[in-house]
């Protein structure tokens, strides 16, 4: 059955090349649900009682004379849980988003199929093969954007990431000449270190860990939103899947500490993650383009996962995986909401938007919940994840990382508020727009559901993570369905929620019972504010965080992007220099031939 799912994905991808938009979106929508059946079926294997469809756990495909070994593992099941639901919902969304089928559906289906393949890979070749297919199919989706920086930076970084991963894989292959991931023994010594470092670097390109994030602002801001939602919500998790696989599942949690006794390489990973979170969050606050803001926000939020992996305690890793799960959904919802806003108003800049909550209330609601999760507002699932990571950092007494994380958390709230206020609240500048189309709203709402469920049941998330963690030898944290308990504190979301509701009820009753008093709009004491009809600056859309910008921005220029551009130009200079060898005079070329002959003869005869 598994091979049928795969085959259907590929065949659907090829078919959607040729058909019109309506049929393509229907085919794509239904086909992309298929992996979910597999997901539900496999849950039985990991201790959760669900329906069984009889889908086998392993399969081997033969391509070009080689056998690829595929199968589901506990870790990949957990990551599949966060990525696979995105497939059909993004297809649902794109039903209304696109006017015609000009290449979106086929390449998205290839991207889905290859993502499914990466999660199912049990040997190095299939992991690399599917990783590359994912790279080129997402490249072709970026190519549709027609933006020069996006296309060039994405291809260069994808190829770089592919080579780094390949380098790591072939070093591991060379140890015992087996391609199976399960045959990778303890990786020791200098070669093992190089392999792991290379793999981490390769995977970090996809998970936008600084400084390899340079492609993200360009690509996220210029490509189609449904694809960006998948890229940021889904594909970036694959980088962390790879990292977790090679760091923890195959080698044990202490791997980064094994190489040199005095240098804590895991601390380096955590520091890089925290700097990534901090710098990206600061940069996100400054952005005016909504998509770029969400891009930097992604970079920042994904940095938390690296912090968790770096700290390495069970608490931290649990928090990291929880954060990964949350990020998939809230970032997808946010990009889809941004797409819905652009679909209706045609505008990207926050300074040009405003007041859309009145006209697009459902979009606003979805974005609001997503922002609650992003900013880690207490009792949302985002809070549970970040709280676990904070606890872990505090437990390990990391005095550099914990404050950076906290400042980044505050920063996340700052830019979240900017999104809410600048786009949805404030002065209503678009009185005529309609709500987003139904399919888009439906997709956003369904994606929002996990964020709400885990508000109340954070413990359930830890149950879902258990197979993956125990497979890696990481013990689970004490928890019940509603509460998580660590050695420092106990977080019981149900208790907080009930308290919150219990406090709201009297307030609500009072609000309804008493007569309302009308006051003047300008009464500051009762939360009013001066009202000016004709001064657009009151909407406070431009230069929203000007004081912060003035203080902070000089320290962040020049950034990684500047240095990558320098490298690009440097290669250009090198290239121009090399071209001078080809002088254009055939006499020179003839001399080269003679010089070569003499050199080769000399080398051979006298060596």
């Amino acid at each position: 059955m598994l091979d049928i799912i795969f085959a259907e994905l590929i065949i659907a991808a090829i078919i959607t090349f040729f058909v019109g938009k309506k049929i393509a979106s229907i085919i794509a929508g239904f086909i992309s649900i298929l992996p979910l059946f597999a997901l539900i079926d496999w849950a039985n294997n990991f201790g959760f009682k669900t329906i069984s469809f009889g889908i086998e756990r392993q399969m081997n495909i033969s391509v070009a004379g080689i056998t690829l070994h595929l199968g589901i593992t506990p870790l990949s099941w957990f990551f599949a849980l966060m990525i696979l639901p995105l497939f059909p919902l993004i297809m649902l969304y794109s039903y209304s988003f696109f006017k015609e089928n000009d290449g979106f559906y086929p390449f998205m289906l290839f991207a889905f199929a290859s993502t499914f393949g990466i999660l199912l890979s049990k040997d190095m070749l299939s992991l690399f093969l599917f990783w590359e297919i994912m790279s080129w199919s997402s490249f072709l989706l970026v190519y549709r954007s027609r933006d020069k920086e996006a296309i060039i930076s994405y291809l260069i970084f994808s190829v770089f990431s592919a080579f780094a991963i390949l380098f790591g894989l072939i070093i591991l292959w060379h140890e015992n000449f087996s391609l199976l991931l399960s045959d990778i023994g303890r990786i020791n010594g200098i070669y093992g270190f190089i392999a792991i470092a290379s793999l981490i670097i390769g995977f970090s390109v996809k998970s936008v860990l600084m400084p390899l994030h340079a492609w993200a602002p360009f690509v996220y801001s210029k490509s189609d939103e449904p694809f960006v939602a998948f890229l940021s919500g889904g594909l970036s998790k694959l980088g962390y899947y790879g990292m977790f696989l090679f760091l923890f599942t195959l080698n044990g949690v202490k791997i980064l500490q094994n190489y040199t006794p005095n240098v804590a390489w895991n601390y380096l990973l955590a520091v890089v993650g925290s700097l990534s979170a901090f710098i990206a969050t600061m940069l996100a606050i400054m952005q005016d383009d909504l998509r770029k803001l969400l891009a930097y926000s992604s970079i920042g939020q994904l940095g938390y996962i690296a912090i968790g992996f770096g700290i390495g305690t069970p608490l931290a890793i649990t928090g990291a995986l929880f954060q990964a799960f949350n990020h998939a959904f809230f970032k997808a919802v946010l990009f889809l909401a941004a797409g819905a806003v652009a679909y209706r108003t045609g505008k990207w800049k926050i300074s040009e938007l405003g007041g859309l909550a009145y006209r697009m209330p459902l979009t606003f609601l979805a974005a609001l919940f997503a922002i609650f999760a992003l900013a880690a507002i207490p009792i949302t699932s985002g809070f549970a994840a970040k709280w676990l990571i904070y606890e872990a950092a505090i437990q390990q007494k990391y005095v550099f990382i914990a404050p950076l994380m906290l400042i980044a958390g505050v920063g996340a709230f700052l830019y979240s508020f900017r999104i809410l206020y600048g786009v949805f609240l404030g002065e209503n500048r678009y009185p005529d727009v309609k709500e987003a189309p139904k399919s888009m709203v439906a997709a956003m709402f369904i994606l929002m559901l996990p964020l709400i469920i885990f508000v109340v049941f954070p413990g359930y998330m830890l149950d879902l993570m258990k197979p993956a963690l125990s497979n890696a030898g990481i013990e689970s944290i004490a928890h019940t369905k509603f509460a998580i308990e660590t050695s420092l504190a106990k977080y019981n979301s149900m208790a907080v929620l009930i308290t919150l509701i219990a406090a709201m009820i009297p307030a609500f009753i009072i609000y309804k019972a008493r007569k309302h008093r009308i006051t003047s709009f300008e009464d500051n004491y009762l939360a009013g504010e001066p009202y000016e009809f004709h001064n657009p600056s009151m909407h406070a859309a431009h230069n929203f965080y000007k004081p912060l910008k003035g203080v902070v921005l000089p320290y962040f220029e020049p950034g990684a992007i500047y240095y990558f551009e320098k490298i690009y130009k440097g290669i250009g200079i090198l290239s121009n220099g090399i071209r001078r060898i080809y002088t254009g005079f055939v006499q020179d070329y003839a001399i080269y031939v003679v010089i070569f002959l003499l050199a080769v003869m000399g080398w051979l005869i006298w060596m």
Binding site: F163, I171, S575, I581, Y589, V593
Partner: protein, 448 residues
């Protein structure tokens, strides 16, 4: 069933000689000859696939006196490649079908096929000459300034190369008194040391000019830029592949020494890096593709040079890289005739061609690079691996720029051209999915 490889060379040659007598039917005769060649090459290939090797003696003289053709897996694959693509390419470039062009085209194909099929070193030289002279004339076909400049540069360097090849052969003959490659190989140890190395250097330099290795490839940018797109495409899959085959054959059979493999590796790496870097800043599409071809030739040479220790992986890598480059680069050259990638056929060709050269699965280029990496890590050649990676990233840079720049809507290509282009590039997809190369690489090679 007896297979006569000599027909693959004889039929195009005879057709080329007939064409001036029947000028009006020139293109038809040529198309017929190439169709025959294509069919026969496919037949020979499937014969080799199931049976191994073929030896054929010409005119009944037994070697080492007579010339003989020895066809094994590598030769058969290259013969198939050259003849198949020759036919498809010919169909595409209908505009240039005057009888002179057809004649020269047939000569170039006959020569390239002869190089890959022959077992006699002087015979190889003869075919080199035929191929080279035909190529000079074909490049100059457009008759404008750039075409003639390209042809002259190639001619000057090619003439020097011919002299060196002849000297190399003469040195071997003077010592061993034989011209048969197999015979030379068995007796190579009885050659004087210094003369042996000198003859290898001469052969490498001479054939290397045509195989586009650095620093012998000064003619490449000018020639590819000046030639028409169909001729540039021919050069990609024909003479250059035959020449790199010749280097590989000579190196693996006659001079299988550590020193020669080492030189080939260094030369290959330098060619790769310089070729890709030179391509990075090119604005003109044909020049960019020409420098990229240089880089790919370097990569193929690296693959062959790893055959000393890891014969299996290295040969599979070489197979796939040759297929990928021939198919992708030829179709990209055909594509360069159109000012921009308009329409589905052009976009598809451009994208698949670029992805194959960069090395994305399931295209043939991916397998080439994968097996190359496996072969290289076995010998712990870290610098080589790093440089191949660097070259790959540079490739991604300029190909991304090329894809971005050539986005557009117009393509002034007729249907026949587009069909040929698409068929050519489909071979990288096909051969990335079918297990042909593995079977071929495990078949016995003659001379071993």
């Amino acid at each position: 069933m007896v297979v006569h490889p000599v027909l693959l060379i004889a039929i195009p040659l005879i057709a080329a000689f007939i064409i001036p007598l029947a000028k009006k039917y020139g293109s038809a005769i040529a198309a017929g000859a190439m169709a025959f060649n294509m069919g026969y090459a496919i037949g020979m290939f499937s014969y080799i696939y199931s049976n191994g090797k073929i030896y054929e003696m010409i005119a009944g003289f037994k070697p080492p006196v007579g010339i003989f053709l020895a066809v094994d897996a590598l030769s058969a694959m290259l013969a198939l490649l050259i003849n198949l693509f020759a036919f498809i390419n010919f169909i595409a470039i209908g505009k240039e079908w005057n009888y002179k062009f057809s004649m020269l085209y047939l000569l170039a194909i006959a020569g390239s096929t002869g190089i890959v099929l022959t077992g006699d070193i002087f015979n190889m030289f003869v075919f080199f000459e035929i191929t080279a002279v035909a190529s000079y004339a074909l490049i100059a076909g457009k008759k404008d300034e750039k075409a003639i400049e390209g042809a002259i540069k190639y001619m000057v360097l090619g003439s020097i190369a011919s002299i060196f090849i002849l000297m190399g052969i003469a040195l071997i003959y003077s010592q061993l008194k034989t011209l048969n490659i197999y015979d030379i190989a068995t007796r190579i140890s009885s050659m004087d040391e210094k003369i042996k190395w000198a003859s290898f250097a001469l052969l490498l330099t001479g054939i290397g000019v045509e195989a586009e290795i650095f620093p012998l490839n000064g003619w490449v940018p000018a020639a590819y830029q000046g030639a028409s797109s169909g001729v540039a495409s021919l050069l990609s899959f024909g003479p250059s592949k035959a020449a790199i085959y010749a280097i590989a054959r000579i190196m693996m059979v006659i001079f299988p020494f550590h020193a020669t493999y080492e030189i080939a590796l260094y030369v290959g790496v330098v060619t790769l890096v310089i070729g890709e870097l030179a391509a990075f800043m090119q604005e003109d599409v044909k020049r960019m593709l020409a420098y990229s071809s240089i880089g790919q030739m370097g990569l193929i040479l690296i693959a062959f040079s790893l055959a000393s220790q890891n014969i299996q992986n290295a040969l599979i890598a070489a197979f796939f890289l040759i297929i990928s480059h021939a198919s992708a680069k030829s179709s990209l050259f055909l594509l360069s005739r159109s000012p921009s990638m308009g329409g589905a056929a052009c976009k598809y060709t451009g994208i698949v061609g670029v992805l194959s050269i960069i090395g994305m699965p399931p295209l043939a280029g991916f397998w080439g690079k994968w097996y190359l990496m496996l072969a290289a890590i076995n010998e712990k050649l870290w610098l080589v691996i790093m440089l191949v990676f660097f070259a790959g990233i540079v490739e991604a840079g300029y190909f991304a720029r090329y894809l971005h720049k050539s986005m557009g809507n117009e393509s002034k290509l007729n249907l026949r051209y587009k069909v040929a282009m698409v068929v050519m590039v489909s071979f990288t997809i096909l051969l990335g999915l079918l297990p042909i190369a593995y079977k071929m690489a495990s078949l016995p090679l003659w001379g071993w």
